[in-house]
Point group: C2
Chain length 239, copies 2
């Protein structure tokens, strides 16, 4: 299939994917895990509280208040902080460690694996996530996400939206920034990539925050592509 | 299939692979590329001369004489230096650049893809090569090498045999060093990994330097496994 949007992006060689929310359903996965382990807890509120601590934690790292810290460790700090709010302060070290690894076991959105397989025929596919390499690798192995290369903030020692991350992808693959397209469900991530000269594709994920909290997925000016999911993105890119 | 060597390594989770010579046939690939492009040149001597510059170039980086330099750039420096010896000093920028990318197009040994596919069912597979990420990723995509994660000296800003590389794999995957096994066709690489607490598997590649220069592939004490190729390694590891 083809589409009117496709001719805009003839020279792209590398597709770099945001992961949390774009490729995998963090909210639904955490709700399901909580439901299995601690059915008395409000999984929706728990998932939202855990995720809400994420950006502030990264800001503390990038401001220098915290030294360089992997997302696995930031997730654990946030987890320890929120457990009492949900009556789970009694959890021991092993249970906390195991629960924290839910981020390694997030389920892909239903279109993700098939969409990536199609896109992989034509493009070099990498992750560009603030998640650490171990997290992203274990997630991909479990879910069958067919990355050509796992790239992470960990490689660049900087968290998105730091330009070092977007430009780092272009540098790793020795291509000009406009041969890299960031694929993400977040307009702020895409805007930061665009400011570095990357191409951008928005992916609509209205239920990223769960069915009780639909998010605005209206197109924004400036993105090269606006896709309903990764299968639609494959259509738009003629894969 | 099983084998007497297997019970030694029950706890390994990650197999980290040396690449040049272990997984891909750099000598044969360069000889074939030279034969197609410049049939008047002695491809065997050319491949050996190019590769001979590799370790000295990395030593210059690790000693601080050169700043951090990717293998793509080291390969290019060595190429520029040897071209006159082979009557190729007339090559222009574009031809040099294209020839230098032969390292992205190295062919795997015949057992490599099938062996890795078997090993991948049971282990997390990563590269641990001095090759840069772009090189390793493009090589894997072309050859069908099914890595779970591409790791490189580039991630650790240190070249093997620096301990930061071997220990870096364990750190990335958050496991003790003895849960990582380095797979390599070079005893010096394996010895350095072993000194860091990693498990080690030797792979016999008698023709790494071409059929005119068979290398000694006798077992050495200290390696956990000694394999004929990656299919045999899969046998030994019960994959």
């Amino acid at each position: 299939m083809n589409d009117a949007q496709a001719p805009i992006v003839p020279a792209v060689e590398v597709l770099a994917f945001d992961i949390f929310g774009t490729v995998v359903d963090w909210h639904g996965s955490i709700v399901r895990e909580l439901g299995r382990r601690y059915p008395q807890v409000d999984g929706d509120a728990f998932a939202l509280a855990w995720r809400a601590g994420y950006k502030p934690a990264m800001v503390r790292v990038m401001s220098g208040e915290l030294g360089w810290t992997l997302i696995d460790d930031l997730h654990r700090m946030i987890l320890d902080a929120i457990l009492p709010q949900f009556g789970l302060e009694r959890l021991g070290e092993e249970e906390r460690r195991e629960l924290n690894r839910v981020w390694h076991r997030l389920d892909p959105w239903p279109d993700a694996v098939a969409g990536l397989q199609r896109l992989k025929r034509k493009y070099l596919l990498c992750t560009l996530s603030n998640g650490n390499l171990g997290l992203l690798t274990r997630m991909a192995k479990r879910a069958g996400l067919p990355w050509d290369c796992v790239l992470s903030a960990e490689v660049f020692r900087a968290y998105k939206p730091d330009p070092a991350t977007y430009l780092g992808v272009a540098r790793v693959f020795d291509v000009p920034p406009d041969r890299v397209m960031l694929v993400a469900a977040h307009h702020d991530d895409l805007a930061a990539a665009r400011a570095c000269g990357l191409r951008t594709a928005y992916v609509v994920r209205p239920l990223e925050f769960g069915p009780a909290h639909p998010k605005d997925v209206a197109p924004q000016a400036g993105n090269d592509l606006h896709s309903r999911d990764l299968l639609h993105l494959a259509d738009l890119l003629d894969c």
